[in-house]
Symmetry: C2
Subunit: 272 residues, 2 copies
């Protein structure tokens, strides 16, 4: 998917919501457990209920790997079920030496046909570049994550007077343009998103941390939005586990719509 196509979908749906499919056998409604593939059954109903209100889906691979080969099969079925107009993100946080990253790229872009994958930057350029060899596929690079540990190394200051996360931002812009790379910037760092937007004016940011992790959607939208929106704001638990009963899908749909309505307001207010 191209940046323009993504923006068109955002305009059409008046939403920049990404629904995180962090599907956990311990948390899905018990009545699904007797179905042949409970994980896929849950995801299918969540997708049906939310697809009009979001523009992207982001399964975190950990939830599927925890179930072994069976979980991997559920992930493949889920991906195939997501409507073609939606942007798909493999939240895999991969990154390895060049020839190995090339295999991860093959796994997520060819074997599974995701639009994008999250990549960890620690191993540097040759660990990221193989993901950029695919037409209309995206790298979403970890820059400043939403968790508490994001302070440990991302906020180290270098001799250049920059934080490590800023060094990642500078270096990676030499590897790819805003048409192939997005950045992960946690909603819990709303104070820094404006500055990061200054350093990367055109890039899309994938913003986790709204919802269960406490980030503020309006604050993020205010400082982070650009002329093509430039934001995909993720919510996982607050949507997919909105109800633990038989009405889980309806409840997820209602929750996604609530966020979409809020986003519609912010698109009017902050798109520039």
């Amino acid at each position: 998917m191209t940046r323009q196509q993504l923006f068109e979908q955002i305009q059409k749906k008046q939403s920049y919501l990404c629904v995180g499919l962090d599907t956990d056998l311990g948390k899905i409604p018990p009545h699904l457990l007797s179905s042949e593939d409970p994980i896929f059954e849950f995801n299918k109903q969540i997708i049906d209920a939310t697809k009009d209100f979001c523009v992207a889906y982001k399964p975190n691979t950990a939830f599927y790997e925890a179930l072994g080969a069976k979980g991997w099969a559920s992930l493949e079925k889920t991906l195939n079920y997501i409507p073609k107009e939606c942007f798909t993100i493999a939240d895999a946080k991969r990154g390895d030496i060049g020839n190995t990253s090339a295999l991860y790229a093959k796994a997520f872009f060819e074997q599974m046909n995701f639009d994008s994958i999250t990549v960890a930057p620690y191993m540097g350029e040759d660990s990221v570049k193989p993901f950029l060899d695919f037409q209309d596929k995206w790298v979403i690079l970890l820059v400043h994550t939403s968790n508490s540990g994001s302070h440990d190394f991302q906020l180290l200051e270098t001799l250049d007077g920059k934080f490590v996360f800023q060094e990642v931002l500078y270096a990676s812009q030499r590897w790819a343009t805003a048409d192939q790379m997005m950045y992960v910037v946690g909603a819990t760092h709303a104070d820094k998103i404006g500055a990061i937007r200054g350093l990367a004016p055109d890039h899309f940011f994938l913003v986790p941390g709204v919802g269960a992790q406490g980030g503020d959607l309006e604050a993020v939208s205010h400082v982070g939005m650009n002329a093509q929106c430039g934001l995909l704001v993720n919510s996982s638990r607050a949507i997919i586990y909105a109800s633990s009963g038989k009405d889980f899908a309806e409840a997820a749909g209602r929750e996604a719509q609530k966020v979409q309505q809020e986003m519609k307001t912010y698109l009017r207010k902050y798109l520039h």
Copy 2:
């Protein structure tokens, strides 16, 4: 597996070789391709031929994920086939927010029963700690990797006058002892291994980059060895693809034995 058990195996086999099972359908001998599970068939014969000469096996998960659910099943079968006395490493380079890292830990330590997993440090403490909640299981943290991109961020200098990789070394020693954590240090940085040993005297180092990547085994052993050896030196391609013919397993065994003989000499010379 405990550190003491690993050292006993090193003494018994007079080897600190780790064989990397980077098994690629495009590189294995063509006569295997007609078998039901060519990846597992290849690994099985490689393990049979090398198990007396190495103390650890390290499948890199990328090679299995590139084949989807089927590859994941081959990985599970391979792990179950590895003799119990060998240390097993999931070279997965995972790391995510706390609750998600906990799921990766479950995937690799419970679902699959690996002894250890490689973890990327960029997301900090809460991304690493969940892997430490398992008895006799290990985190192998990326510190200074063997690839060219290791220069991009790992060698940034901080205001404290340290490289970023040294900051990782310091911080992570507050999270776990040498009984639960090892470090990845590339053989291509032999000049720095001595200094890293100074900062982490008791930890095991997993050292990739000998063989196809050009690292020097004697140099690494000289500066890196401690009283319990403290080294697992990995070789992948140079061993498993020693021959592309029907004699691939024999050739791999010969190659592994050659490395083991060299290691035997270095254990006499440098163990202290």
